[in-house]
Amino acid sequence: MSELLIRNACVIDPLNGINGEIMDISIRDGRIVEEVSGNAQVIDAAGCLTLPGGVDSHTHVCGTKVNFGRYMSPEDMRAGRTARNGCMHVTSGYSVPTTFGNSYRYSNMGYTTLLEGAMAPLEARHTHEEFTATPHQDMMANTLFDGNWAIMEAVRDKDVRRTAAVVAWYLKAARGFAIKLTNPGGTEAWGWGEDVSGIHDTVPNFEVTPAEIIGTMIRANEVLRLPHSVHLHCNNLGVPGNYQTTLDTIGLVPDLNKTRQSLYLTHVQFHSYGGTTWRDIDSKSEEICKAVNNTPQVTIDMGQIMFGRTTTMTADGPMEFKLYMLHRNKWSNHDVELETGSGIIPVYYFRKSMVNCVMWAIGLELALLTKNPWQCLLSTDNPNGAPFVKYPEIIALLMSKKLRDQECALLEPRTEHHVPLFAIDRELDWNEIAIMTRSAQAKALGIRDIGKGHLAPGAEADVAIYPLKTSEIDPSTQYQQVIAGFSRTKFTIKRGRVVSRNGEVIVDGANSTIWVKPKVPEEYNLSNDPDFVRKFQEYYTVRMSNYPVQDVYLPRGVCIETEADL
């Protein structure tokens, strides 16, 4: 039995309605408990801000495409290297750090749970291998279905049940967590070098539209009773005028779940552009936020960009090629048979570029114009908008109008006429930041019930103690302290154990991988379905028996089993 007592913590725990109370937190064997014995190890939080461990509900840190980002970028690896030190392994990289680099840096910022944003089922084993080398965070993987042939056939047949059965089979095989749609239909079209340009375009050869894929998958998701909703990267990412596609998509969403959203739209900044070209691009954050405010069944994340260099990587292969045509630096693409695609290019976001300035403003506007912080989560779509180490700066920008004004003064001068940001006065408070960085993320992912994102007895003892005294700091003027504080915890506690202290990682981690297994009746088990099996053996280049991820890849797997409504 191991016990830990955190004294004098200034706790903000939005899921339990606690906002800035000074209290003690008792921990036994990795869980929060009511009280501990006098033998417990004691940590004095000394009135510092204490939050549930951070949850990132959309980040790219592990798997084929992420590793290719490293592989192709020795210049990025060179930009952030540390030597082996104590129990810390070597790290390399700035925008696409090595797995240990990601893990340590997240840990130092108080993050304990991450959702990898995109995993192709065929390459799931790779993602899981990297998960075990990301030791300080519990990991989950969004599983890509955007160009899945079996899904598109079921959608074409308007068969929600079969769609659900296909999802169930792949989630189990890939040890995945949730349904991810990246430019649905577009990645299949990209198999021919084409794309779709709206939710009612037809996918070549499959006679379905993105709207049908999205609509059917939302229903299949609820049939399977998955913890998370469908996680959508909308069509037309990064295209001027694409806000209309995003609005059309939000308009599709039925309200099917009482405990969370029915659709999660990710990195919405990249999907909120007005205008018709890069010259007349403008922010449509007001329209998007109006729709979000009126549609409680959707949740979004920001996809904030920050100025400087980074690497973009997404399953959205056609979008990356378009981006490559603009940047002309280097371009990788990796299409995955029967499933999806992906692309990677390095980028640099410039303050001198009006387009980049508009993008920067939109991300912040989304967070400031969405009334309910539970509906808009903080993200950069790491590393697409910026590496996650920029989160503290984003927090400071959201908490301080003064800092925003300072930054706005440095933007390309025309920006002001293209965005509403300059006129927005809202400053978020500590509680809202806590919501947007952990509590709402845990709720949106449906992992509150397994003890994530809050600190009530029974919860996982993942705790972040920041060197910030909320009563003494005015974030609207003392934003430098806010940035420094959120960059480096005093203590990061993972499952009841202090893993990082004042920016130094002090133990070898031992994370869990959380995955979802929907239980379906035998007649919906596609392993027995002759048509599914035949197509699998004919068109994949891997045999069906060699496809599923073996248990050995999840040494500390946590399986959420759901009872499908089939």
Binding site: R70, M77, T98, T99, N333, E337, Y539, T541, R543, N546
Partner: protein, 429 residues
């Protein structure tokens, strides 16, 4: 016992449809595999126990002694080199990288003598690629450049390209055009629809010419480029531009000939250019079955796919400087651990001489050329036959190889883990 869907641990194709018959600890038959696979599963020149050189003779030693000796040699070295890795699984490779960071060693894999130049090119211009099933299901034009799959990757054409029927290409053999570029006639060039016979060392110029033609600059191309007529170049460019889905596969003929990585870079840039017109992909024909796995594992731990130097604590990468051949040729390293490969058979003489001069330790199941340069050899189980673990196919698809019977040998993972623990104890956490 008959085992189905067995994965072949020979080449980068990583075929996973073999049917293997096992009796006790012997493979008695292999179905579906090529002749290379057959040889791999049924061949047997395993070393029986660890052996240590004593002057001109070898003595058997215990595993414990061999492990202890290895750890001490590595700990004493000022510039140890850990080389090989492509013939073992990802789990063992991972221990290898951690061992290297702990020791301050250089770790390198066999990419250094095969597709290292491809990696260097990709680091300059990226890699428009895809999984092999995309090619099988969609491609109507296939280009083999400096590669002879019929001999080196015997089932590549039947599983993934020329003869492989796919969803959109029902009659592959009739519907697919095959273009071969090489400096000599090969079995593969004999079945090509179009064979570009290039003068040795002329690949770069031919690729440049093709790029210019695709960009609409055919008029400036001279009538012959490195032995290839302009008319043929124009014809090939048009075939590519008119393809619905084209796929280039290239081999060591392109990576190891004059210009090396700049050849690959040129081919990648041609591919990118073609994507303005249609869909085109390019892929290296990786040799060893898990060389791509070693690149992947090295990368997620250290940030670099091969030739990683930890001498300074941080990871440093610079092919030409931190690559094994260069380190050995300059006589830099003072101890070498070879795992699951045979540099003695592939490295230049000067490098082999240095390997023989320093304490070289070989962890490999078989007696091979490197045995004769070594100070100590530790035999282990063969991944994919009597040991299991993760491998990455040439296109990046990860597959778990199988253990067909219980081995009497330890796995290389177990041996490396023990060495690692001794070194860790010595070096402190």
């Amino acid at each position: 016992m008959r085992i189905e869907d067995v994965i072949c641990p020979f080449c980068g194709c990583l075929c996973d449809d073999l049917v293997v018959e096992v009796q006790g600890t012997t493979v008695v038959s292999v179905e579906n595999g090529c002749t290379l696979a057959h040889e791999k599963f049924t061949g047997d020149n395993r070393l029986q126990a660890p052996i240590k050189r004593d002057g001109r003779t070898w003595h058997p030693v215990s595993y414990d002694e061999a492990i202890e000796t290895t750890a001490q040699i590595l700990l004493e070295a000022d510039r140890p080199l850990l080389y090989g890795w492509s013939g073992t699984n990802g789990e063992a490779q991972s221990i290898g990288v951690h061992l290297a960071e702990l020791l301050g060693a250089v770790i390198d894999n066999t990419s250094t003598v095969c597709h290292g130049p491809s990696i260097m090119a990709i680091q300059e211009v990226g890699h428009p690629g895809c999984t092999l099933g995309q090619v099988k299901n969609r491609a109507d034009v296939i280009v083999y450049w400096g590669a002879n799959p019929i001999e080196a990757h015997p089932r590549h054409m039947s599983r993934y390209t020329t003869y492989a029927d796919g969803f959109f290409v029902k009659g592959a053999f009739l519907e697919r055009k095959v273009i071969v570029a090489d400096v000599r006639e090969t079995e593969t060039s004999n079945i090509a629809d179009e064979f570009m016979h290039i003068e040795p060392g002329g690949d770069y110029a031919v690729l440049s010419a093709l790029r210019a033609i695709v960009r609409g600059k055919a008029d400036i191309i001279p009538s012959y480029v490195s032995g290839v007529a302009r008319e043929q170049l124009v014809r090939v460019a048009e075939m590519c531009m008119n393809a619905k889905f084209g796929a280039i596969f290239f081999g060591l003929g392109l990576t190891m000939s004059r210009g090396k990585y700049k050849n690959i870079r040129n081919a990648v840039e041609l591919t990118e250019e073609l994507n303005r017109f249609t869909k085109f992909t390019i892929s290296p024909m990786r040799g060893h079955w898990n060389v791509y796995g070693s690149n992947e594992v090295f990368t997620w731990i250290s940030g670099y796919p091969f030739a990683v130097d930890f001498a300074r604590g941080i990871a440093f990468y610079n092919p030409g400087e931190t690559t094994s051949i260069d380190i050995l040729r300059r006589g830099e390293c003072d101890a070498c651990l070879v795992v699951a490969s045979d540099p003695g058979a592939h490295f230049p003489k000067q490098c082999c001489r240095h390997l023989a001069e320093i304490p070289t330790i070989l962890i490999d199941p078989h007696v091979n050329v490197t045995t004769h340069l070594s100070h100590l050899q530790i035999p282990v189980a063969v991944t994919g036959i009597d040991s299991e673990g993760t491998a990455y196919r040439m296109d990046g698809v990860p597959i778990r190889t199988r253990m067909l019977y219980k081995s009497r040998y330890p796995s290389d993972r177990e041996i490396l883990e023990k060495i690692y623990q001794i070194v860790l104890k010595e070096k402190g956490p």
